[in-house]
Symmetry: C2
Subunit: 164 residues, 2 copies
DNA sequence: TTACTAATTAGTTGTTATTCCTATTTAATA
DNA sequence: TATTAAATAGGAATAACAACTAATTAGTAA
């Protein structure tokens, strides 16, 4: 008998949680299912509201904390830059950004090739583009030196992900 | 006698303010100078702290409001995504984002070319990249329909930029 | 210059997003 | 089944911003 896709995904989720040393709680499974069915880049608040309908006892903190944990595990990503304080960029030259996930540094870089990227026709028709930017996310030199902590999904198992 | 670069920039600033129908206040000139000298994508708070040393009476609200006005005028930009609530992205496929500056919508799109961008050698040496993403900022179809408001720097002069 | 007027400001108060704290509960293991 | 460390709910604290209002000031036109 074949497993449903849903079942398979949940199995993989459970397996990965175990590899990270995380307990399988009903809350985590619920949040996992809800977020995987989202196609609109929801906020923690939005996910919390949806889940609350079926599970009125769940707390916002649990939803938010769990989502951050999932991001560290690599189950989902955080939309580039969102959640940061607003930052201003006085650089008028066409340029692109390096973002360090660890320390939050944003570093300008220049690369002509990136300034000349073509935009797909379907997008031109439906969206008026007035800025095109390439964002490279990773770990900056300084942070690489300071710690050897690897990023998900290469984090070694059994290291607490988000200690308080 | 040649004008200094600083003077020239301030002249251009004053000229542009006038074109937008904005008054030239000492606060605006101070904030303009401070932000133009920043190379680290400062937050409003950071700029406020720096300015406060020399102008202890300035208020945070003025700094923040002025920076937003400058962004609308096109004197500076807001770093992609910063200032938004944190948003999660469960899409594991390599993909890119369209961001509507007006309504805040984030729309996924797929374009193979963008997945194969090469990374400059200098960056590879100093930064470990684990995500590359292209962000197209502009105005989505829906918002184009709703209003004809043009974006800076094409805003017509004498239209209040950030009315209360 | 001086007087006028609307824009701008400082200071304060709200609001919202997010994190922190702690007592209680629960999943995993023996 | 008992143990224990992790996870949770709920509330409090914090931080980033935005909104409000009375007082001040820049721009202008006499």
């Amino acid at each position: 008998m074949k497993k449903s896709i849903k079942k398979k995904m949940t199995d993989k989720f459970i397996e990965t949680c175990k590899a990270f040393g995380l307990k399988i709680t009903p809350q985590r499974i619920t949040i996992y299912r809800e977020v995987l069915n989202s196609f609109d880049h929801p906020s923690a608040e939005a996910i919390y509201r949806k889940i609350k309908e079926a599970h009125p006892n769940i707390s916002f903190d649990t939803v938010n904390r769990t989502l951050l944990t999932f991001a560290e595990m690599g189950f989902l990503q955080i939309v580039e830059g969102s959640g940061d304080v607003r930052r201003f960029d006085p650089n008028a030259e066409p340029h692109h950004h390096l973002r360090c996930k660890q320390c939050g540094a944003i570093i300008d870089f220049y690369y002509k090739k990136y300034n000349q990227l073509d935009i797909p026709e379907e997008i031109k028709e439906k969206f008026s583009v007035n800025r095109i930017r390439v964002v490279l996310e990773g770990i900056c030199h300084r942070c690489q030196d300071h710690t050897n902590r690897r990023e998900a999904p290469f984090v070694s198992a059994r290291v607490p992900l988000r200690g308080r």
